[in-house]
């Protein structure tokens, strides 16, 4: 028998070679760019032996939109809208990362109220992003129902963010020097508090019952796709992927930006509760627990929000930014999101380099994906929670 499946044509089904030897070779498999489990347009080139994966090569670039090059052509305020399109599941976090870099370059003092508003919206965005992570991860594991439940709660967040920013998905809310709009005068803070209380007390329990502690779910994920601490360091993993391996690192705590130093919250890490530290279930559970912590931050930020202006400077006209370079790193929902901006003193950036967390997190698949089953690879990609908009930019 001949297992050369890729050479099957209309002429022959199994052609033995002349010596009549049995030979087998690995099967090349294109997973994506159009595949339900690759979370967008990721293409994975697999070499498989039956169900076992022998080699994984991620092929990127299907969503490349030259965002960094465009930054050299548009002014600083205009480029905020492009950051929305990086991680379109948590655009507030991306906005936040960019404006902190520009502010560092311009040396602007941001009003306290604006910082609080930024924290609240960014954390709401983080919750929304983590909800999608849970939902799609459940879908990858074949559980359909949590998807709808998580999207139902995300819808609430979108409504809240729509009321404050005017946009449902791409907000363009933060600008260098503050935020665009103040809190709407229709009891917005109260509604946010009500929502996070509902999420903390009721919905998270539902998810845990339905999905997290489901027997089949745990069987599928414990000891699967174990990412060692050394590998995570080597490949530059950050965010829930790094924390899932048991490393307590979070930019909000370890390199505080904005007003995060004022708030009291914990950093959940993977504990190996159902298997090994750093398996898919740990990465998943870190996200669930981060939702709780985000709720805590939002509550504190809203309760201590000072009165005052929400925008330091009116950036009506394109401003000139002093020459120099600045790098800031922030904790987005996917990990450490950094912006390196070089200014030559003009109205546009000379160079804007983005360090996107999903890009670094994805690389590890080349190492961890080898030797797994195809189903486990799907679980592993799902547990990384990548967003292709951020990888390709």
């Amino acid at each position: 028998m001949d297992y050369e499946l890729k050479n099957i044509g209309t002429h022959g089904w199994a052609s033995q070679d002349h010596a009549g030897e049995i030979k087998s070779e690995l099967m090349e498999l294109n997973m994506g760019p159009q595949h339900p489990a690759t979370h967008g347009v990721l293409r994975l080139l697999l070499e498989t032996d039956g169900e076992i994966v022998h080699k994984v090569t991620p092929v990127l670039g299907y969503l490349h939109r030259c965002a960094e090059k465009i930054a050299e052509g548009v002014n600083y305020k205009q480029w905020v809208v492009y950051t929305d399109r990086f991680d379109y599941l948590a655009p507030m976090c991306c906005n936040h990362a960019y404006v902190t870099a520009v502010e560092k370059l311009m040396d602007v003092e941001v009003p306290e109220r604006a910082e609080h508003l930024r924290v609240v919206t960014a954390e709401l965005s983080r919750i929304a992003s983590h909800l999608i992570a849970l939902a799609t991860f459940g879908l990858d594991m074949g559980a359909w129902t949590p998807l709808l439940y998580c999207f139902r709660e995300r819808e609430e967040i979108l409504n809240l963010l729509e009321r404050i920013s005017g946009g449902r998905m791409l907000y363009n809310y933060m600008v260098p020097g503050g935020v665009r709009y103040d809190v709407p005068r229709d009891n917005w803070e109260h509604d946010v508090l009500e929502f996070i209380t509902m999420l903390e007390t009721k919905k998270l329990k539902d998810y845990n019952q339905l999905l997290s502690y489901n027997k089949i779910f745990i069987e599928r994920l414990s000891d699967v796709g174990v990412l060692s601490v050394q590998d995570a360091y080597d490949y530059g993993c950050t965010g829930p992927v790094l924390r899932g391996s048991g490393v307590k690192f979070d930019c909000r705590k370890d390199d505080p930006y904005s007003v995060y130093h004022k708030f009291d919250f914990d950093i959940p890490v993977g504990t190996g509760e159902v298997g090994t530290v750093g398996d898919c279930w740990d990465r998943y559970m870190v996200r669930v627990r981060e939702i709780e912590q985000s709720c805590r931050i939002i509550r504190q930020a809203l309760e201590t929000m000072p009165e005052g202006p929400y925008l330091a400077i009116e950036l009506k006209k394109p401003v000139k930014v002093p020459a120099g370079a600045a790098y800031t790193r922030t904790e987005s929902s996917k990990g450490e999101l950094g912006h390196y901006i070089i200014s030559d003193g003009g109205q546009t950036a000379f160079r804007n380099k983005v360090r996107s967390p999903s890009f670094c997190n994805l690389q590890v698949i080349e190492k961890v994906g080898v030797g797994q089953m195809v189903s486990d690879l799907v679980a592993f990609v799902g547990s990384l929670d990548i967003v292709l908009g951020e990888i390709d930019r």
């Binding site: 499946l5 209309t10 099967m27 498999l29 594991m141 559980a143 129902t145 998807l147 069987e219 089953m373």
Partner: protein, 354 residues
Amino acid sequence: MEILSDLIRSMVGEGMSDQGVFISAAVTMATIMFIVMAMCAIIFTWMERKVAGFIQSRYGPMRTGRWHGWAQAIADMLKILGKEDIIPAEANKALFMFGPILVLLGSLLAWAAIPWDRNFVAADLDLGLFYIFAVSSMVIIGILMSGWASNNKWALYGAARGAAQMVSYEIPLALATIPVVMATGSLNTQDIVIAQGGGMWNWYINPVNNPFLFVAFFMYFIASIAETNRGPFDMPETESELVAGYHTEYTGMRFAFFFLSEYANLFLVSLIAAMVFLGGWQAPFPFLEFIPGWVHFIIKGVMLVFLNMWVRWTLPRVRVDQLMHLCWKVMIPISLLCVVGAGIWMMVTGQAAA
């Protein structure tokens, strides 16, 4: 069948030969069965959407046909009829075209031995239960055939998984019904149902009569989910891993054949469960016997279908090796134990058929 033959004979008079009467009765019966099967596919597609919607806190179809989207499945069928029938250039055309027909045939043939009522069974075979399991194995060949002929690697994965899964799960499926056959002393489907008459305490599922039959019912139910390739055991399709599994390359009516057969199979295994363990067309209480038997039978079947859908929309999917582990190392030993245990129980309590 006899009643139908008598009816035909009375209508056409004595001018018709016995063979002619038999053939016309058989054709009538086959047509009825096919219509029932097509109807159940349409009804269960709609039901699946409504059940999924109910579980997922949404409505499901609401527009087509005004009342709760009842015409949605019909509209889908009409749409699918109008679709282009694409056969991939590199596919093996003969096998590609034959595969879905075999799948449909496998699930259709088994319907012949289902007893709907006291006097209403298309083929009253002495080996009825055996016949059902024998012909429904044909589905495996159809799936393997279409997955291989598609010349698509995902389809091949789906077909290989499907064949492995269905061949494995036929064993606990059949083993779980063996205790019932032992208790009845017959493989005839009608005999099995008649033996359970007189109220729900006489059904084989009642653990007081024989606890091993109670366990066997659950073995049968789990194996039947795997046998119909539905979640959490939908390995051959696994939309998040294998795109659409063995029917990735199929379009139009050929795809509809798979679809039809999935729901026909779903109802079929539920009806078999109702027939073997839940008393078939027998009423649950003697005072309900005025309701026709087929109504009882269909209600029991639909309830099991609902249970199946409930499981599907609640649980995540197991991995393919865990699925095999469950079959060979858990379910087959338990099923075998049920066979032995049921036999011993019957000997000890003196229930053994003479």
